[in-house]
Amino acid sequence: MSNTTESVDLLESTEALEAVAEETLTKRERWALAIERSLLAPARIVWMDIRARVGLLIIFGFVAMAVVGTRVIREPTVGEGERLEPAFSSVAHPLGTDSVGRDILGQIVHASPNMLLMILAGGVFTTVMATSVGATSGYLGGRIDRLIMSVTDIVMTIPGLPLVVILAAALSPQNPLVVGVILTINAWAGLARAIRSQVLTIRESAYVEASKAMGISTPSIVRRDILPNIMPYVLINFVDAARNVIFASVGLYFIGVLPYDSVVNWGVMIDLAYQGGGLQSMAAVHWLLAPLLTITILSFGLIMFAQGTDRMFNPRVRARHTTTPADGDASSSESPGEQR
């Protein structure tokens, strides 16, 4: 460490400020470096977390089911098997059949593309809307903030279900992506408010002010300084929104607003199973359990993945699991050089 009470070396300082590299990288090398830093390194970090791996595997499993499974397994038809065949009793119907003889596994698999698209649309729409509105409003503050928040409040107070019903009835959507968006049409408002509150706090941080002093543009500041702080919260809310889409869709199907095609929705399966006595008798319980467990496992996978990304967003968590030279914190004693 240099002894800072020695006299100043003017040349040294100027050299440091104007230092450039001795060799220039080629364009290709620069690209490789950029990709490494922005894509590969974070991906590696995420992969290191066991939760992320588990989550990713589950999600991948579902995607595979939707893409490949639908080709491999036959589309279920009424009466293809015995009624209410129990699970694990035959190879042709591994998960059994329902009250009209349709293969349950087939139903689950063939519902998955629609379901995944719907959840994806709903989750992404909610999260993107909420984050952009909430973060921008919170960061800019002042009159713009008040204006945006007033609009958000109005959206939030519009009764959700009637609005969705009206939209669904009016638009009669077939595309699961559109269905997903409609189902979450005003769910983003509450989340936007929550995000705005968090942003209000972060915006007062010293490093945000330093970025402003450096002339960094507002979108850049929001993206680099503010968002990473709230990402874990955003991701968990994404998972939540995704799950809500599933259950919200059930309601719509039953009101008859969405065209009720026999095998299109896990939530519908649960409802049919429930009506068909799935809670009362052992005979129909497999029909109830199969879609229930499917939804649970998918949720679990999403949550695990969201938690696993925590490491990517939070350097402190990352460091706890790797050896670093400066790790000097005792569990409750102060670290040297800092006052608490």
């Binding site: 009470t5 005792a330 569990s331 004693s333 040297p336 050089g337 800092e338 006052q339 608490r340």
Partner: protein, 350 residues
Amino acid sequence: MNTSSDLQAGTPRTAPDPILRIRDLTVRFEMDRGTSRVLDGVNLDIHRNEIIGIVGESGSGKSMLASALLDAVVKPGVTEGTITYSPPDGDDIDILDLSAEDLRQFRWEEISMVFQGALSSFNPTMAIGEHFQETLEAHGYPVGPGMDRAAELLDDLYLDPDRVLSSYPHELSGGMKQRALIALALVLDPEVLVMDEPTAALDLLMQRSIVSLLAELRDKHDLTMVFITHDLPLVTKLADRIGVLYAFEFAEIGKTETILKEPAHPYTRALLNATPNLDAPLEEMRPIAGSAPDPVNVPEGCSYRTRCPLATPDCEHEDPLLEQVTDTHRVACHHWRDAEEIPLTTEVDK
């Protein structure tokens, strides 16, 4: 008769009466990396009605010492050793041996504490007066006389009792909250008041004023005070004796004047030189090279030797214990006799 640990603790031969005797106090945390000892075999006597300043930088263990005096070290910390409290009337008590119920009574009635970062200690939903009432009720003290005493204390601290007792925490300034906290700590008439950085977040003027007020309080209420801080110049205005903590042990203990004028430990001398103050000539202020040790990896032998200009090979082999310089001055250094080789900026004439 003085035992060797008594000698270490600074007990003069004609003993003023110690109210607290700390022997072999160690606080350790078991961590994956090893055992972290944030206090290592500390010995100290605190005399009745004295104000003793414990000075150390962050990471020296000083906050742990405060917590240990009330047996309040956070889990999973393990506190070992003995802290013997001698009440004015009654038998000696080993604080670390008290049962949970006895400890609850002991705290605040015998020894009371003002914590670091205490400005957020008040419940924002309760008025200040309610905090006092709650404390009185929890200890079974009569509320009427208790609140009268509270008002008197607030007045001693230059606060308007009626206004402060009916205010909520956010309505008071930092300085007012800190003084209210001191009053709260004294409401049950304890014998000892331990303060951990009580003025750290306050303005200069308020810090200095509170220090003056504390001296008055000590005289009026017959208190013993332990003032823990990193701010050496501030505590010299208040303390009778000063103990300097470095790397979880005492480097030096002595009367304030002695510590300022004739410190015997190289760290104390370096600390005095590194402290910016108004009087010392600018060129003489020097930072201390190196950094404080990690509690898991304290250097063998003397923990200061890696930064000490007087270090020799035997400093590595033997950890120096507190030795007597005079009746009232103890230092833990093998080379304290050569300490004058390190010039003090405060001695240089302007």
